[in-house]
Amino acid sequence: MTLAAVRRSVQSSGKLDMFVFALTGFLIFLAIFGPLLAPDSIYRSDIGNALQPPSGAHWFGTDDQGRDIFWRLVAGAQATLLSSVLIVAAYSLIGVAVATIAAVGPKWLDELLMRITDIGLALPGLIVALGFAAALGPSLESAIIAKAITGWPVTARLLRSILMQTMTAQYVVGAQVLGASKWRLMTRHVLPNSLDILIVKWAGDIGATVLILAAMSFIGVGAQAPSAEWGAMVADAKGYVSSAWWAVAAPGAMIAITSVAFSLLGDILQVWRDPSLRDSR
C-alpha cells in the first residue's frame, strides 16, 4: 500500500469503517468456528515436515513439529479471541454492578467500593494476573479467570463518574419532578444515557485483552503447549526463530491484526457516539 493509498483510506473513513467491520466480523467468525474448520493434523507432530518455509502447501509454513501454522492460527483464534471477549464481558458486568451500587447506594458503601477500586487500580493487571494464574496453576482457564477478576476497577471507576454526572442531568431532575420512581429514573433515564460509553470501551478492551492474554501465555502462566493459542505459539517458536522466522512472525502478526482491528472498531464506535471526535482520535 502506498502512502497516498493510506491517506485516502484514512480520509474516506467510510471505506475504512467497512473494512474494520468486515475484519472484526471475520475474526469473530474464526473465534467461533475456527477449531471446526482446522484439520486434525494440526494437533499431531509430523517431524518430517518440520520448519517448512511458507509455500503453496503450507501458506504460513510449518513449526518444529511439522504442524501447519496457518491452520493452527485458524484453530487458535478461539483460545485467544473468544477468551478475550468472555473476559471483557465478565469484568464489564462486575464493573457495571459495582458502579451502579456505588452510585445509587448509601454514601458509606460508595466510599468503601471506591477505596477497593483504588487498590485494584494501584496494581498493574499483568502482575496480579500473574500471581492469580500462578496460584491456580498455569492454564488458559486460570489466565481467563485472573484477567476477568482484575479487569473491573477501570470500568467501575469510569462508569461511576459517568453515572454521577448523568444523575444530575436536567432531564433526570425533570423526571424526578414528574414523580418517577428511583427504579424508573435509573432504568429509563440514567443507565441508557450512561452505558453507551461501555460499548465503545468494550471493543477497545477486547483489543487490549488479546495482547495481555497472549502475553500471559508467552510467559508461561496462560495456555500451555500444545495449545494453538497465539501467544503460546510465539513462545513455542521463540527458541528456533533464527531457523524459522515465520513461526514467530505469523502468530505475532495475527495478535497484532486482531488487537488493531478491535481498537479501530472502538474508535469508530466512539465517533458514532460523538461525531465531534471525528479526526481527533
Binding site: Y171, V173, G174, V177, L178, G179, R188, H189, N193
Partner: protein, 269 residues
C-alpha cells in the same frame, strides 16, 4: 393561597464555612396567578426552586401546597404534589432525555401517575397536548434533537402540562432562546395560564420578561426577598435601592432614551 413558602432558610458548607443561600424567604402564589421572582446569578433562585419542588430539604421554614405542609409529608402526599406541580427548565437542550421520543417524553407523566394506561388513549392525549402547544401530532415519533430550541421548549411545556398540573414553575424558560422565538414561548405561557387556569411561578433574571408575564413580583438578592408587590408598583415605583439599581441598569431598546454621548475624559492620555 395555592402555594406558599414561609421563612425558608438554606445554607451550604464551603471551605470558608457555611454560606447562606436562602435567608428567611417567604412568598405565596394564589390560584390562577402568575407570580414572578427576579434574581441575578448567585441570588439563590436555583436553591429556591429546588426547595420549592422538594428536591432539597431546607434548613428551616415551611412549604405549603393547597393547605398541606409538604416538609415531612407522606409518600402519597408527595406523589400528589408531583402530579400537581411541574417544572420547565431554562435549557431546552439538556432538559429532554435524548433517547426518548416526543411521545414517550410527553406521555411519561401519564404513565407514572397511571392517568392513561392504554397506549392508544395515551397517544391521543399526547397528540392533543402537542396541538395545544403549537406542534404537530406527527412530531410524536421524532427525537428531541431534531427540533429547534423554541420547539423543544414547547415539547418541555407539553411534557409538564400533560398531567394537568395546577402549578407550573418556570426556571428561566426563555433565556436560552432567540429573541424572535422568546415572544412565542412567552405568549404560549400566557395562553396556557388563561386557557387552563394555570398558576405560574416564573423565575428569571430578565426583568422585562417578568414584567410582561407576571402580575405580582418578588425581587431576590443574596438570598433575601428585598422587594415585592404588584407589577406596576415594583417596576414603576421601586422602593429598595437594589431594585432601583437593577431597573436603572436595564438597557432600554429605544435610542431616544439614552444619555448623551460621553466626551473624552480629561485624564486620558
Amino acid at each position: 393561597m395555592l402555594f406558599e413558602l414561609a421563612h425558608i432558610t438554606k445554607t451550604f458548607p464551603t471551605a470558608q464555612g457555611r454560606i447562606t443561600s436562602l435567608d428567611d424567604v417567604s412568598l405565596s402564589v394564589g390560584e390562577g396567578q402568575a407570580v414572578g421572582l427576579v434574581g441575578e446569578s448567585g441570588s439563590g433562585k436555583t436553591t429556591l426552586i429546588r426547595c420549592a419542588l422538594l428536591l432539597t430539604q431546607p434548613d428551616g421554614g415551611a412549604v405549603t401546597f393547597d393547605g398541606t405542609s409538604m416538609l415531612g409529608a407522606t409518600r402519597e402526599q408527595v406523589r400528589q404534589f408531583r402530579r400537581q406541580v411541574q417544572l420547565v427548565f431554562q435549557d431546552p437542550f439538556s432538559s429532554l432525555n435524548p433517547r426518548m421520543t416526543v411521545e414517550e417524553l410527553v406521555g411519561e407523566g401519564l404513565v407514572i401517575h397511571g392517568i392513561e394506561n392504554s397506549a392508544a388513549r395515551r397517544r391521543d392525549s399526547v397528540a392533543e397536548m402537542l396541538t395545544v402547544v403549537g406542534l404537530r401530532p406527527d412530531d410524536m415519533k421524532r427525537y428531541p434533537n431534531s427540533f429547534s430550541g423554541g420547539q423543544r421548549q414547547r415539547i418541555a411545556i407539553a411534557r409538564a402540562l400533560a398531567i394537568r398540573p395546577r402549578l407550573l414553575v418556570c426556571d428561566e424558560p426563555v433565556s436560552a432562546l432567540d429573541v424572535s422565538v422568546q415572544a412565542q414561548v412567552i405568549n404560549l405561557l400566557r395562553e396556557m395560564q388563561k386557557a387552563l387556569g394555570l398558576t405560574i411561578l416564573f423565575v428569571a433574571h430578565d426583568l422585562a420578561v417578568v414584567r410582561h408575564l407576571c402580575a405580582h413580583v418578588y425581587v431576590l438578592n443574596r438570598g433575601k426577598i428585598v422587594e415585592s408587590g404588584s407589577r406596576d408598583q415594583v417596576f414603576d415605583h421601586p422602593t429598595h435601592p437594589y431594585t432601583q439599581a437593577l431597573l436603572a441598569a436595564v438597557p432600554i431598546p429605544d435610542p431616544r432614551r439614552r444619555p448623551p454621548r460621553r466626551q473624552p475624559a480629561p485624564a486620558a492620555s
